[in-house]
Symmetry: D2
Subunit: 317 residues, 4 copies
């Protein structure tokens, strides 16, 4: 069975349903939030489930909002509020914990990959102020120490993001790490309309860039929450998927009745091989993204940073 290329646990799950494959060890819960924001929780409960899904065990919450890309401040505020709730839940109740490192992964110079840097740019950074003046500097008891970093991508630094972040974590000892990153989806319909929040961190092969080393609780020594928005589809994925639809359509077509039967005899694997032969391998170096990606990334970066500011700063709640 070939692997579906998506960073969204929800899409991976859906693909199996589409193919009528039962996945054991994976639980799915739907919940309707305020307005038309849809919240879905995928829980990968067993190692078997993880293997099938191609993603580590843990919780993956998806916020979907059809108008996430519209200009509407109140609507965006509602998304920030829901995001904040999910983050709090994943962090659990640990009141004594109070320092957070927010990491903006991705390449600031490539528009759909600049989401993480945008979020860090908009965060209220407080660690240095609280260390110097105490948390009453903000007139509140519970303001957290927030630090932030934009490590850059390997082509710019020559280093794995994971090396840089682990170094920073070991020097500054945050209680948690929040990693924000642009993701790859399988369907263009999910681009810029979905936020995934997971307690599994960032794992190999994700995203636009080449970030192969995991950034998770194991590698960092503290809990890592990853927040991502799909902003691209791999070029190979979009082509594969549409061709797969083409084969299905031809198999159904009365116009092509002669073909129908022969095609039905092809199994999934044979169809995939047929497609793969036609795909130039260099397509892996390309991605698909919407033309208005600059506005989408700017707006989503703001929405996510507001959600995080709400979570960690009393006066934003």
């Amino acid at each position: 069975m070939y692997q579906v290329r998506t960073d969204l646990a929800l899409e991976a799950k859906e693909k199996f349903e589409e193919d009528h494959v039962e996945v054991k060890g994976v639980r799915l819960e739907k919940e309707k939030a305020a307005g038309d924001i849809e919240i879905t929780k995928v829980v990968i409960e067993t190692e078997n489930g993880a293997k099938t899904m191609g993603k580590p065990r843990g919780i993956y919450v998806t916020l979907e909002a059809p108008n996430m890309i519209e200009e509407d401040e109140d609507y965006h505020r509602e998304i920030s509020v829901q995001l904040s709730k999910v983050v709090r839940e994943l962090l659990g109740e640990k009141k004594e914990k109070d320092s957070i490192l927010v990491v903006g992964l991705g390449n600031r110079e490539v528009t759909p990959d600049a989401l993480g840097p945008h979020v860090v740019d908009n965060m209220m950074i407080t660690r240095h102020i609280i260390r110097e003046f105490g948390s009453y500097a903000f007139g509140k008891d519970k303001t957290k120490k927030i630090s932030g970093i934009v490590p850059g991508v390997m082509a710019q630094t020559g280093m794995e993001s994971e090396e840089i972040i682990r170094g920073v974590v070991e020097q500054t000892h945050p209680d948690y790490v929040i990693v924000v990153d642009a993701l790859a989806a399988r369907s263009t319909k999910r681009l810029n309309r979905t936020i995934q929040i997971t307690d599994t961190g960032i794992n190999p092969g994700s995203g636009v860039g080449n970030r192969r080393h995991a950034i998770n609780r194991e590698s960092m020594g503290v809990p890592v929450i990853a927040i991502g928005v799909p902003t691209v589809v791999d070029a190979a994925t979009i082509v594969t998927d549409t061709m797969s639809d083409l084969i299905a359509a031809m198999a159904e077509s009365s116009h092509l009745s002669g073909i129908s039967d022969s095609l039905k005899t092809l199994n999934e694997m044979e169809k995939y091989e047929l497609i793969r032969e036609l795909l130039s391998p260099h397509l892996n170096a390309f991605f698909v993204t919407p033309k208005d990606i600059d506005e989408a990334v700017k707006r989503l970066g703001y929405t996510i940073s507001e959600g995080l500011n709400m979570t960690f700063l009393e006066n934003h709640a």
Copy 2:
């Protein structure tokens, strides 16, 4: 017959050859330049040729260089030299003419669309200095008055680029306009490896953005040279093309011998219809671009601006 979606005259011509369609009124000349730079000239000579090609009458010169995206200063200098030669040739010998407006079209905030702005950023701008101190300010008699503008795209300005540029041309009276823009190609293999220089300017429906009004000699009142590099492929194009290949492969396949005959009976148009039904219309809002597009656009912007600096400033020649 359906229209091939490409801004490169060379690709449009090739498509017809591929389909064994003879195009009248279009001439093609190949020339090998220094090293491995290949120069091709497509001349659309008649209105009929223009109609078939979907592009206005005029000269389209293409520089192709397989290593255009490598880090090699000497190689890039050679491309700049060849570009300069072509620009000089298209401008013709008019020594008394001496003021040039360089326009950087496209959206600075969307990486593959930022080529034009990058070129203007790197141009030697001289008009204001020569107007104040004379051309001997540069110690040369023949330094041209160069001005530059980055008008932005319609989503940012609410105006057509053509309105802005015509306004600027009417106020500042340049003898020529050079317009630099990112283009859409049909094949990913041409991305960031090809420079097209044409004396027809920029015409409706080109590029990533929505720039519908022509920027050419007719609308501007002075000669307009357009320089473009394909940095994206339309998502619909890449999917259509690969599906077209799929149908061809299935028709040939011995493995699918049963299908073969039925498929052969489909003509081009029927194949296209089959594909179009499957393509979500929203794919038009997406483009395909390489992951290292930031480096490519930066490097190409520099190479083109150097070519133009050479052309207009004695001391760079």
Copy 3:
């Protein structure tokens, strides 16, 4: 009498008061707005007043707010509301008028000069949408057609901003032009805490850059409102002023009683000559700005664009 170097009419007026010089033909009105925002109106009523002030006849409204640089969304919203009121008042009641061009003057690459570009970046641009779909595209009858442009500075374009804007105005026929620019103040205390709104447009010698040609009703053919925030002090100004204070202090000093009398015999002009001799003329090429100018310009750009969005878009009011 030497000229005070400031773009703020209020500071020019204050200087004369300080020097006990009566200025005829200039009226000053103070008004306390919501919270601690102070609104002052300087009206230059006569040509004589204009000559003395070194600024054209017209209305100059100043909003001053001590916490304009703090992070406080509600506070900023209040400033936006007051700004919107002043702009409406200066534009007058002309309901049939409905298209506005917003110009962001200044150099995007020099932090304190990037205010204008930031404002245009944050404007709701509507002209192209209303032209295509009508104003009901926004669900409101009264949404204005807003266009925007960032012309760049002369070192980047080789052209006067005034040439570019006049060209755009002649092509697109806005009913009004709003020009936003970074200004030079005399006192560092006013930097990033003051917004000046004037119906006289932008006039020679203002700001950080070299923009010598007026952008006003006369040159544009339509009313021009200029909105500016002082973000720099000229280096020569700050040095002159402090030295002037030094001379005054020495004249008062009991410690330097011997000097006192001789210094008192120096008149303003002599003091100024003494200072000027010491000032290297190259100081004119330098400006003074605060270290946190990046945050100030970002925040003020947002506050001003919100004020303008409120003014022209029903749903923001």
Copy 4:
């Protein structure tokens, strides 16, 4: 004796000479390099010298070039060559050492503070390629493993640059660290015309920002070379210096003969106190920089990165 505020060892030394103060334990060597580039070496040899100079023991080499800000590629190449020589000399001959971390300190969003980030943007980053393919990936035996990072400033990260860099050094084990930073000079005449290279790293209180923790061999565990260009003068410094000149001028002035004698009785300290009373303490939050700082920083960033590329990559030498 009050402290001169400058990051340039050369200026600190000059100030003492000006004041006819002999500094023990500090050696100064002048050398004329190619063309009009002047090279000066200040060696602080003893702890006493360090205390007097307010800078740690070590070597400070200054390259001064009057035309460093002109557009002249050959001239800039010569500066890069000289810079490369100095860096090699300070690193010493250690052929087995081969990995270098280049750090771009400073705030990318504040133009005169963006020098370090610009340099890292232009570096050839090789570490990840050599680790994957070996150094023959570049067709040379001696290509070094270069990594780079732009840590941001404390207001953006909440962390000391030193914490971030130490973390990265401990994870990636470079043999050397090169730190590039914008500096503060005492005189505007040195801005953008001087490069200081030192083996003492970066030490408290330097530059525009607030970077208080040393980045040197002691804190990093490996040799640290710092490369800096003064791009700003502290506002307090420029005012103090000119006022000091004013007092001197008045003391000399025949026109003010009455004052002369009283002023001569003031000692340095009293003059300084007089000045300090007049200086608003908030002037510390301001800096002075030239209007064309965007072009200067871009050009100098390129010149320095070329010098470093030459140093570490065979094929650039």
